[in-house]
């Protein structure tokens, strides 16, 4: 089933479609030539569109329905994944997946927001908007990783923590706050990767670590552009303007000292070549875990504290 795509990506989609059709045709010198021309045009079209992406277009890419999600990355770069369920308090939250896997043959804890592909799965996973039990499950797995001295990787891709009655009743704020506090002191290396939408506190609750990596077209923000526009402009249609003002792109956040490394995406975005994206991400994880493994636990925790301690800009006079 074709998914709706933002209009600025339509020329790319049309060219891909034409290429697929040409590929199906019988090989002749003529179709080979047409195919090559179409592929060249695709590369040029991508280059043209991606040379001047606006922050709002980046938001559309970060939310692209075909973008790889946490389970795609896990299966794309790890083996022997076992998903673990439940917070042992109330329920299992399918908006977050968590478990253990082998990465280059070594065990690792992996946790991430999980969006759905089909409508039914989207609903079941609540569009990756976790409830408190999701964050508590995540913390349970992270503490287990600490107990067994295993590194932790988190994949962040959520519009935000779920704003619902039940979530409030069960302490959404407390669940997020507790993760922030506990993650700050976990005695094992933590690498956090913003793969898609980094939606406010709901993202940060999996986002306290020794390295913060961000995919090139991911976003990370204190509030959604739509929410910001509704509050500050009293007009949700100003989301495009809000997206610019919020400085939510990977490049902006690298510049602000929040993000350690921006990971380049395949031409046209991660959804164009998920295996290539997973490979880039795997390389980056190898590199950072190798560095972090060298640190003694005390140094690891004190560096992590300093990392967040120095975030923020102010004047002292």
């Amino acid at each position: 089933m074709a998914q709706p795509v933002s209009s600025f990506l339509e020329p790319i989609g049309e060219l891909q479609q034409r290429i697929r059709e040409l590929e199906k045709e019988q090989t002749s010198a003529e179709t080979a030539q047409a195919l090559e021309a179409a592929r060249r045009e695709l590369r040029e079209t991508i280059d043209r569109i991606f040379a001047h992406l606006t922050p709002w277009q980046t938001c559309q890419l970060a939310r692209h329905p075909e973008r790889p999600y946490t389970l795609d990355y896990i299966h794309g770069m790890m083996t022997e994944f076992t998903e673990l369920h439940g917070d042992r308090r109330f329920a299992d939250d399918p908006a977050i997946v968590a478990g253990f896997a082998l990465f280059d043959g070594d065990p690792i804890a992996v946790i991430g927001h999980q969006k759905g592909r089909s409508t039914a799965e989207k609903v079941r996973r609540n569009f990756a908007m976790p409830r408190p039990e999701g964050y508590r499950k995540a913390l349970r797995i992270m503490k287990m990783a600490a107990r067994f001295s295993l590194p932790i990787v988190t994949f962040i891709d959520t519009p935000g923590a779920y704003p619902g009655i039940d979530a409030e009743e069960r302490g959404q704020a407390e669940a997020i706050a507790t993760n922030l506090l506990e993650m700050a002191r976990l005695p094992v290396p933590i690498v956090c990767v913003i793969t898609g939408e980094g939606g406010s506190g709901g993202a940060l609750a999996l986002g306290v670590g020794d390295r913060i990596l961000m995919l090139e077209h991911a976003i990370y923000s204190v509030i959604s552009p739509e929410g910001c526009a509704a509050i500050l402009w009293k007009d949700q249609s100003r989301a495009e303007q809000a997206a610019e003002a919020l400085r939510l792109t990977a490049r902006d956040l690298k510049h602000l000292g929040i993000v350690d490394e921006v990971l380049e995406e395949p031409a046209g975005g991660a959804q164009m070549d998920p295996p290539a994206m997973a490979a880039t991400l795997a390389d980056a994880l190898r590199h950072h875990f190798k560095q972090l493994r060298r640190l003694k636990t005390e140094a690891l925790i004190s560096k992590r504290y300093k990392k967040f301690r120095t975030m923020g800009k102010y004047l002292e006079r």
């Binding site: 619902g164 204190v222 509030i223 992590r304 800009k313």
Partner: protein
């Protein structure tokens, strides 16, 4: 004690809860609580520190820290212009005043939020002052009390505001390790990133009666679920019932409650 924003100055004021017309002095002499219906009027940060410290005496800490405009943020107004306007109207403390003094004879640090300064929103300055308050408590082995009153993270500083949640929570983790007590007082309103960080992390969480406390604001929840919220939802008493608070305490008893709790952990 002068009532803040929602109490107009003058001889008479109207209680926003019971609509009673009240003699101004009657309210101010009652710690800004309506003598008819017990509605708790909002206090300024300075009033809060006066209320909680012995003889209303304290030393203000970290005064020279000021907000800047790291994003070049402009909505209907430029952020630096907003800052100037609020500083002129409310004072130079941004949305948090930190004081050191005594509570029933024992030294402590209190960090009180100032709602009148951009809705008590938490940006880099609030985060930095909280982090320094925590570090001072660690260095001098002092207990920390925070009084939350905030709409959440400050949008005008983007993700830098979000990171203050992590920065403060990391500091509180260190206080826990060192066995230093932290009491969180939640007042009307406490929502968003402030609730989802230090306000919910007290060794003891105390709220004033009837305060709105939550992660998502009621309007956002209503828009999401497309139905009216039940009466009393996200109020202090609701949170107490759901296990998020240790107690709901009337303002006249607040100082005594804090002091008593601190005696257990000395």
């Amino acid at each position: 004690m002068k009532p803040e924003a929602n109490v107009r100055e003058g001889l008479w004021i109207k209680c926003e809860a019971c609509k009673e017309i009240l003699y101004h002095k009657e309210v101010t002499n009652n710690a800004l609580v309506c003598p008819r219906c017990d509605h708790h009027f909002r206090m300024t940060a300075a009033q809060r520190l006066e209320l909680l410290f012995d003889e209303g005496q304290y030393k203000t800490l970290f005064r020279p820290i000021r907000s800047v405009d790291p994003l070049g943020f402009v909505d209907t107004k430029a952020y630096p212009d907003r800052l100037k306007a609020y500083t002129r109207r409310v004072g130079p403390g941004d949305a948090l005043i930190v004081g050191q003094g005594n509570i029933e004879g024992e030294p402590a640090i209190i960090a009180a939020m100032e709602y009148a300064f951009m809705g008590g929103s938490m940006g880099s300055v609030v985060g930095e002052k909280m982090a320094r308050a925590i570090e001072r408590c660690l260095a001098r082995k002092l207990p920390l009390i925070s009084v939350a009153c905030s709409g959440g993270a400050r949008m005008q500083e983007g993700v830098l505001s979000l990171m203050q949640m992590a920065k403060i929570s990391a500091g509180l983790a260190r206080m826990r390790e060192k066995g230093l007590p932290y009491i969180s007082v939640l007042t009307d309103p406490t929502t968003g990133g402030v609730t989802a960080s230090f306000a919910m992390l007290g060794d003891i969480n105390i709220a004033e009666p009837g305060a709105l406390i939550g992660f998502a604001g009621p309007r956002v929840i209503e828009q999401t679920i497309r139905q009216k919220l039940p009466e009393g939802f996200q109020r202090s008493e609701f949170l107490l019932e759901h296990g998020m608070l240790d107690m709901v305490v009337h303002r006249r008893d607040l100082k005594a409650a804090i002091a008593r709790c601190l005696t257990y952990f000395r």
